[in-house]
């Protein structure tokens, strides 16, 4: 620069006519060679690491392919097909073992003639769930109601066979059962129960109206009556569906097993834990000290103990704390335990979402005069829940994996059914164990990996949405 300005020589100084394009990087920094140098063989430690990695791949992948595919036995009727000295060659995975046990792994002991019901439940679940997961499809609200509200009832009736024969409702429980004992049952419907139910509904509604009037004045009566009646009507619809005899053969839950139990527990756990978790999360952020303390104690207690103690408690001790000889189905007890446990975890996920909502949203809602319940329902929760969908999916993955624990309380989920299959002497071969673990591992992996990918995609999407 100095040269140019100092010089008074009679030639024009060089001025570039246009901006020059960037130079190509030097040969050492581009092409395959540079890639290899940068990512594989840059330095001595790099080379060693690469070789170590290659060695690891070499010692794991080819033997696995050999075991599961090339050396595997694909057909046969008993263990003879998979014994090396009978087959006359090295034997890998014994797939006929899986084929033979497949029904047990998927349905447990569910009666063969009734398995179409399980298939319908599987198919219906997939049909309702998929559109819920794909963000671009419309009718999310309707879809969510169908999946979280209607589907569980339908699945329950299909799987158990319905026709629950409830014995009595509020009034019977209060010792007035004699009033309703003479009623017959029509079409599976227990008329005595329904008489009790309708009377109870009227009484409770009247009581609610009276209490609300006394506490909050006459203007509170109408909403109180309405909400009580709606609650009873919804409950009645569910009970009615469960009570009516549809001609399905009843199937006890102790016959359920395998993947069916795994899915029932995971889906019930997540469906039940969502409302409870939201309530607990709201309770934890409440200004009312007692509500707050009770919520925190509940959440921290269930989060602090292992699931198997919870399951053990629910399975063997819950009946001790319930009145008289009230017996609850074994699977239902495990479900209660899982629901309590999952609710506590769900509460923490939802709390994260609530905390992420800026204070301005709360203040804005209050400024336009919304009551706190409306503020939550219309402003805060819709935003918060959207934020925590990935967290909910992650919770679901955790729950899906945790369902394996029910085998400790003698309920046979997929892993339990697999382990029971291991003890069958008809299929005792040197490779049965590895085959079984391989198959169960693939099933668990496909479910969990798929869901985790989905939650990651959602997260990216939410990130993008928030940035704009």
């Amino acid at each position: 620069m100095a040269k140019i300005s100092a010089g008074s020589a009679p030639f024009d100084p060089f001025v570039a006519a246009q901006v020059l394009g960037p130079e190509a990087p030097p040969i050492s920094e581009r092409g395959t060679f540079a890639y290899l140098r940068g990512h594989l063989f840059g330095s001595v430690p790099q080379v060693l690491l690469t070789l170590f990695g290659a060695w690891l791949v070499y010692v794991t992948i080819p033997p696995m392919i050999q075991f599961f595919i090339t050396d595997a036995v694909w057909s046969g009727t008993n263990r003879e097909a998979c014994l090396p000295d009978k087959v006359g060659r090295a034997v890998g995975a014994c797939w006929p073992f899986i084929w033979a046990k497949f029904d047990q792994l998927v349905y447990g002991f569910y009666p063969a003639a009734e398995r179409w019901r399980v298939n319908i439940v599987y198919a219906l679940g997939a049909v309702l769930l998929l559109p819920l997961l794909i963000q671009s499809l419309p009718y999310k609200r309707l879809n969510a109601i169908a999946f979280f509200g209607v589907y569980p009832v339908v699945a329950f009736i299909l799987l158990t066979g319905g026709d629950m024969e409830p014995k009595g409702f509020l009034l019977s429980w209060l010792g007035l059962g004699g009033l309703f004992s003479g009623f017959p049952a029509v079409g599976g419907l227990q008329l005595g129960f329904w008489a009790d139910y309708i009377l109870s509904a009227i009484l409770v509604t009247a009581l609610a109206a009276f209490v609300c009037r006394a506490v909050a004045g006459p203007e509170a009566m109408r909403p109180a009556i309405r909400s009580t009646l709606v609650t009873f009507a919804v409950l009645a619809a569910v009970l009615f569906a469960a009570d009516i005899d549809l001609g399905l053969a009843p199937v006890e839950t102790r016959l359920w097993g395998g993947l069916l139990v795994t899915l029932v527990i995971a889906v019930t756990g997540i469906t039940v834990s969502l409302p409870f978790g939201i309530l607990l999360a709201l309770g934890r952020r409440s200004n009312l000290p007692l509500v707050k303390i009770a919520s925190i104690a509940f959440i921290e207690f269930w989060r602090g103990v292992p699931l198997i103690t919870v399951l053990f408690f629910a399975t063997y001790m819950l009946p001790l704390f319930l009145p008289g000889r009230l017996t609850i189905d074994g699977l239902l007890r495990a479900l209660v335990g899982v629901a309590l446990f999952a609710s506590a975890y769900m509460a923490e996920v939802v709390r994260g979402g609530l905390q992420a909502i800026p204070k301005g949203q709360y203040e804005g809602a209050m400024a336009v005069g919304l009551r706190s319940s409306l503020m939550m329902r219309l402003v805060v929760l819709p935003q918060a829940l959207k934020l925590v969908i990935p967290g909910i999916v992650n919770n679901f993955i955790g729950l899906f994996k945790d369902t394996t624990l029910v085998l400790i309380v003698s309920i046979f989920d997929l892993l339990g059914a697999m382990r029971a299959a291991f003890t069958d002497p008809n299929w005792a071969t040197p490779t049965t164990l590895f085959t079984g673990f391989g198959f169960a591992g693939i099933v668990y992996f496909v479910f969990c990996f798929g869901m985790s990918r989905y939650s990651m995609a959602l997260e990216r999407r939410l990130d993008r949405a928030r940035r704009h």
Partner: protein
């Protein structure tokens, strides 16, 4: 639920109860909730009392003093059948703590390695680490425990065909190798040294890992004192080194010097006493090895599964933590002339820890809680010994489950508190 806290405008003397009055409403809700909770508690209590009375079951904690009568396959403190259920409880608790503490340490190390490997520039390492993380995180922990126990146990030989490991084969191989490449000068003595070492003393079989037991013949307390003194001196030295560094900029290799003091001092002391350390080698006698220390396969399977499972999650936490530190930080460190190692250690990791510690805490808690799955493979942890054997022999279900839950709850709360304290220390780095 978050009502405005300021009270409603006060009415005159004829003030009426109103549902819109937040004070009243909060009182009503809380009283209702309190009553409901009291009712539930009372109902549970009275039902339990009635149910127990009907069946004539005694309650109380007196059973803890009774003779246990069953054996436990891994005991860290002396235990035999004549001792009490209370002692068995303690044995189970210690077994749980052992697997939890070791698991946390190993999972942290493996998790950090894997997390850093996932960010490696080396594509092979990166792909392997990713595969590790995806596979281990997506398989249920119980599945992994059973896999390690059943599948791996089936592949191990019986005690009489044990795989022996020891210094002799190792040094022998080294000596032979050196001889082979023409370095007989070094290889010869090493080979001779190996021949003098005797038979292998570490064995692996389907009864577990058998290793020699070392014990102090005399002067044990002196050696312990030396170790304690070594630790104290090392801590003092690191303080001094920090002060010097801040005052003069001079850097000491604190880690190596500290290690030398902690290891060297006890070594010197024991050398002065003429190495009074006895070795009890395991020997095959009858069915099994006797002598030495046996690490049971249940423990190995449980620990292995917990470490591998949890490390997958820790790897993801570490990766996210490191990615959360902006690239400018490491670029600035590089431009100051720091090499890769110090950049990572002094600049990136301290900042990443702030992001890492809270989720790491919950992983530690998960690992501790998952250790109760050992019951599925017969590892005598708290759940298996106490809520399993003891519960069945005594039938005191309520007391035992309550105690078990209380223990896990206490461990959880303590771990949370400890990590919270550490988190505060880490967070203080920020100004």
């Amino acid at each position: 639920m978050s009502e405005a806290t300021d009270s409603a405008p006060t009415h005159g003397a004829g003030r009426r109860w109103s549902w819109t009055d937040p004070k009243l409403r909060s009182a009503v809700i809380q009283i209702a909730l309190g009553l409901l909770l009291l009712f539930l508690l009372w109902a549970f209590y009275s039902n339990a009392v009635a149910n127990l009375a009907r069946q004539g079951i005694a309650s109380g904690f007196g059973f803890l003093d009774n003779r246990a009568g069953f054996a436990i396959s891994q005991t860290l403190i002396p235990y035999n059948e004549d001792m009490s259920y209370g002692r068995a409880f303690l044995v189970g608790l210690l077994n749980t703590l052992l697997v939890a503490v070791l698991g946390i340490i190993l999972a942290t190390i493996l998790g950090f390695l894997m997390g850093i490997a996932r960010l490696s520039k080396n594509v092979v390492i990166q792909a392997l680490a990713s595969a590790y993380v995806e596979v281990t995180r997506n398989l249920p922990p119980l599945f992994q425990i059973l896999f390690w126990y059943l599948a791996v146990l089936a592949a191990l030989p019986g005690p009489r065909q044990s795989w022996g490991f020891g210094l002799q084969p190792l040094f022998g191989a080294i000596g032979n190798g050196l001889n082979a490449i023409g370095l007989g000068v070094i290889g010869g003595p090493i080979g001779a040294f190996a021949a003098g070492l005797g038979a292998p003393s570490v064995f692996v079989n389907n009864r577990g890992l058998v290793v020699p037991r070392f014990f102090m013949e005399s002067g044990g307390t002196l050696l312990l004192a030396a170790i304690a003194a070594g630790i104290v001196i090392a801590v003092l030295f690191s303080r001094f080194a920090k002060k010097r560094r801040e005052a003069t900029g001079q850097i000491y290799p604190v880690f190596w010097i500290g290690l030398a003091i902690i290891v060297g001092l006890p070594l010197l002391v024991s050398a002065a006493m003429g190495f009074p350390i006895g070795v009890e080698r395991p020997q095959l006698r009858g069915f099994n090895f006797s002598g030495g220390v046996t690490v049971i396969p249940e423990f190995v399977a449980l620990l292995l599964a917990l470490v591998i499972y949890t490390a997958g999650f820790i790897a993801e936490i570490v990766r996210a933590g490191i990615l959360a530190v902006s690239k400018g930080q490491s670029e600035a460190a590089h431009s100051l002339g720091l090499r890769n190692g110090p950049t990572l250690r002094l600049v990136v990791i301290p900042q990443a820890l702030r992001v890492i510690v809270p989720p790491l805490t919950s992983q530690y808690l998960n690992l501790t809680k998952n250790s109760s799955l050992g019951v599925a493979v017969g590892y005598p942890d708290l759940f298996s010994v106490f809520a399993g054997s003891t519960l069945n022999q005594t039938g005191q279900a309520i007391e035992i489950i309550a105690m078990t839950m209380a223990v896990y709850l206490t461990i959880s709360i303590l771990t949370s508190a400890l990590m919270g304290w550490y988190n505060k220390r880490v967070a203080l780095v920020e100004r």
